[in-house]
């Protein structure tokens, strides 16, 4: 693959991605206005003594009294200069709000993602190698149990076991409040807080990866080139690693690409259960408060992630599978 071709491919894809993201922004802007209620009505409702004049004043202040196409134009212009708007509710720029919360979410979802994919694939491979034997059934049952159990329920159970009974791990938050730790101690503290939410979030996907990897391994193991490897006298372990697993990973990567796109948006429940200060909570609160600017900012962020990870998945494909050409 020539470097020049790769660059041209990237340039093309980035242009396409920008168009897609912009379309999503416009669509979401319109969609959100279709929902009943607006920030002014929520604020007025909470202040208790709101009259029509106060509401009109709020709307004028937020720019909500202008025609919709004008509001849209202002918003899109803002996005093009990377200005995500201002949250009147929190009296902070949206970009600042998101930027504060994003690392916590990425840390949580990233850890869950790595846990799900590595443990899931390992379990899937183990099951495929023992197909039809008890170990296979045990793995399948475990995987399906986590797949079928609601995620918040798993979270509460883990808290009950590891925090309440065993007192091994903290049950909520991202760091110990008031400890004022720094450096390595801080990192370890965050790590300890991370374990339960990351496992909770990861277990659901782990089940999918385990099933996917198992099915894919079994399918590849039946293929002609595996028989060729046997006929060459390749040892069993190397056949699994070099011939079967590598080919079996392709569908896993496809799914991982889809999951990676949800890294920002997919953790609302877990963030709520574990009081994790992430972007999911931010979006949830913004939705209840009709805080359009924050909500749209989160959507924008999610859209960018999805498009970005699609691109990364495609590139990864080209690296792993020589038949896929970057073009």
């Amino acid at each position: 693959m020539g470097a020049e071709r790769l660059l041209r491919f990237l340039a093309q894809r980035l242009v396409k991605a920008a168009i897609v993201v912009l379309a999503i922004v416009v669509f979401q802007f319109v969609l959100i206005r279709l929902a009943p209620g607006d920030p002014a009505s929520v604020i007025a409702g909470q202040s208790g003594a709101a009259d029509a004049e106060f509401m009109a004043q709020l709307r004028a202040q937020f720019g909500l009294d202008r025609p919709m196409h004008e509001q849209l134009w202002i918003y899109v212009k803002g996005i093009l200069t990377l200005d995500l708007g201002f949250s009147h509710r929190q009296q902070l720029p949206v970009a600042t709000l998101i930027w504060d919360r994003l690392p916590a979410t990425l840390l949580l979802t990233g850890a869950a993602f790595l846990f799900a994919i590595s443990a899931g694939v390992a379990l899937g491979v183990a099951a495929a190698r023992r197909v039809g034997r008890p170990a296979d059934s045990v793995i399948t049952v475990i995987a399906l149990t986590f797949y079928a159990t609601p995620i918040f329920w798993v979270g509460l159970l883990l808290v009950l076991i590891f925090s309440v009974w065993l007192e091994w791990l903290p049950s909520f938050g991202m760091y110990t409040v008031g400890a004022d730790l720094t450096g390595l101690a801080y990192a370890l503290d965050v790590g300890r807080h991370l374990i339960l939410p990351a496992i909770t979030l990861g277990l659901f996907f782990l089940a999918i990866y385990a099933r996917l990897a198992r099915a894919s391994m079994l399918e590849v193991a039946d293929q002609d080139f595996v028989r060729t490897a046997h006929a060459k006298g390749v040892p069993e372990g190397r056949i699994i690693r070099a011939h079967v697993l590598r080919n079996a990973l392709l569908p896993v990567i496809t799914f991982a690409g889809i999951q990676a796109g949800q890294l920002v948006g997919g953790s609302i429940l877990v963030e709520t259960v574990f009081a994790w200060p992430g972007i999911g909570r931010l979006a949830f609160d913004a939705l209840l408060q009709r805080d359009y600017a924050v909500l749209l900012g989160v959507f924008f962020c999610t859209a960018v992630m999805v498009v970005l990870f699609n691109l990364i998945t495609d590139l990864l494909y080209a690296v792993i599978d020589p038949r896929v050409e970057v073009a």
């Binding site: 080139f225 060729t228 490897a229 046997h230 006298g233 190397r238 070099a242 590598r246 080919n247 020589p322």
Partner: protein
């Protein structure tokens, strides 16, 4: 002492199968520098015999009795690890499907080099791989090292397989239908290569095949298998020309004899193609243009009533595309296809409909061309029903048609998977005939069938063609079949009809160089199957 001898080998099948043993009491021997062909139809146990020698019998199929003695050791007594060490080092194997037998994610160099590495030979792997690639006469070995298999043609991949099998200079090479999936000219090249390498290196070759032409081309000795047993064994010349066992005789009789038949006199013209073109565009998108592949270039021929025209050529020559253009499964880019003087290409979808039932098609793969979720009766009746025939009447007709293709009327209520390949092809034929077509387009109708079944289906086609006065466009890559079935032959190469003439002329005095090349590549062309003496 022989290099390899199999003595009384019996392998059981799981209980409840159609027979108790996959192979039963197999005894054969292979000497150094000799090619032993094991011939048989699908399910005869020939591949199982090869797997047993390699120690690759699938788990669940127990070896009941017998010995496999290789260079003085009984292979069945070796541990799994000892057997693994022998595979690749002393025993090499080449498989049938070159397109799937190589790991798609590994470079050619790595795959061949792996043979050295897993057997602990790490010295100058690169140089040795290069020499092997030269040995199997692949072009530009250095750049091949880093190439992935998908860039190679079927024949090139099979050469890579052979290089891999011969890497450590094994004394036995097992070749399981190594040329079956290849085009005829490529097949001949691979056969010659195997023969050459085997003579240079003195390797003993156990060659599994179903094709008596191939046997005639390369075998020193032959073993014929049927239902898991060896029914006849002997020197190639003896078995081919004076077969003793009735089954061998039946198989050899079923080989298309390749002699041209008497031509029918010309009559009314049914179909005339003029300047038909079809180009496929691949890829392309928002930002770039795709590449174009010319599949059919300026095709021109005519078909008279009751005549059979053979369209022969190798894969990718455009013969199937041309056939699909005639029934308008593909829309040609230009030219005219006149059916009884009406240009079909100018007709709208609706205006085309009455013509559709007059032109019908039989497809190659009897396993893929019938909907597995529908009953045979419905499959056959579907055509007439969509053309307005009442269902009851269509089903009654389907019953008659089944009788015509020599199937039981009980087949109506069964599903395609309950039938064998040959029976399915008969169903496919009945489906095509249900609309009373005048023109039948048969796209490789017998290519997926065993030779004895192939003979039956060809005989049936011939009989029906005569009885119903059908005109036929017969597509095949098998020149022996073409010679037997067709009045005239059109030879296609890279989308172009390079030669068109009476069968006897094309075979007897071919004009185009490519036709001569094709004819030269027929395996065992010097061998004429003995006609039934009795």
């Amino acid at each position: 002492m022989s290099l390899l001898s199999v003595e009384g080998l019996t392998i059981a099948l799981p209980p409840g199968g159609e027979r108790a043993h996959a192979i039963e009491d197999i005894s054969l021997h292979l000497d150094a520098g000799e090619i032993l062909c094991v011939v048989g139809e699908s399910g005869s146990g020939k591949s199982m015999t090869a797997s047993a020698v390699m120690g690759l019998v699938p788990p669940g199929l127990p070896i009941v009795s017998g010995r496999i003695v290789f260079e003085g050791t009984d292979l069945l007594r070796l541990s799994a690890e000892q057997m693994r060490e022998l595979r690749g080092r002393r025993l090499g194997m080449v498989f049938q499907e070159p397109m799937t037998a190589l790991n798609p994610l590994m470079t050619v160099g790595d795959q061949i080099g792996e043979v050295f590495r897993v057997h602990g030979e790490t010295g100058d792997v690169r140089g040795r791989v290069l020499r092997l690639l030269e040995d199997v006469r692949l072009p530009d070995p250095p750049s091949l090292l880093g190439t992935y298999p998908f860039r190679l043609s079927g024949g090139q991949r099979q050469r890579v397989m052979i290089a891999m099998a011969l890497a450590l200079g094994p004394s036995v090479l097992i070749a399981d239908e190594p040329t079956t999936a290849l085009d005829v000219t490529t097949q001949m090249q691979i056969l010659r290569l195997i023969r050459q390498l085997q003579q240079e290196k003195g390797t003993g070759v156990l060659f599994i095949t179903h094709d008596f032409g191939v046997v005639a081309e390369i075998a020193d000795r032959v073993a014929v298998m049927q239902h898991g047993r060896i029914v006849e064994q002997g020197p190639a010349r003896a078995v081919l020309n004076a077969p003793q066992h009735p089954y061998t005789r039946a198989l050899i009789d079923a080989v298309p004899h390749g002699t041209a038949r008497a031509t029918t006199s010309a009559s009314e013209e049914v179909l005339r193609l003029d300047g038909v073109r079809k180009t496929f565009r691949r890829g392309g998108g928002l930002f770039k243009r795709g590449s174009a592949v010319v599949a059919v270039k300026d095709a021109r021929f005519s078909l008279a009533k009751g005549e059979t025209l053979g369209l022969v050529g190798e894969s990718g020559s455009g013969k199937s595309t041309l056939a699909r253009c005639v029934v308008r499964l593909f829309e040609p880019d230009g030219g005219s296809i006149a059916f009884h003087g009406t240009d079909l290409l100018r007709l709208s979808r609706a205006a085309m409909k009455p013509y559709r039932q007059r032109i019908q098609m039989v497809f190659q793969d009897p396993y893929a061309s019938l909907n597995p979720r529908r009953k045979v009766g419905d499959i056959i009746a579907e055509g007439p029903v969509t053309h307005g025939v009442p269902r009851a009447q269509a089903i009654a007709k389907a019953k008659d048609l089944l009788r015509l293709v020599q199937l039981d009327a009980g087949a109506l209520d069964r599903y395609p998977h309950e039938f064998s390949g040959g029976q399915r092809q008969r169903i496919g034929l009945a489906r095509a005939l249900a609309l009373d077509p005048e023109l039948l387009i048969a796209d490789e109708p017998v290519s997926a069938l065993d030779v004895s079944v192939q003979a039956q289906v060809l005989a049936l086609l011939d009989d029906i063609r005569h009885r119903l006065g059908l005109t036929m466009l017969f597509i095949t890559h098998d020149l022996r079949v073409a010679a037997q079935v067709c009045d005239r032959i059109a030879v296609m190469q890279q989308g172009e009809i390079v030669e068109l003439g009476d069968t006897a002329q094309v075979f007897g005095s071919p004009r185009h160089a490519y036709t001569r090349e094709l004819l030269d590549a027929i395996p065992g062309k010097h061998w004429m199957p003995p006609r039934q003496a009795a």
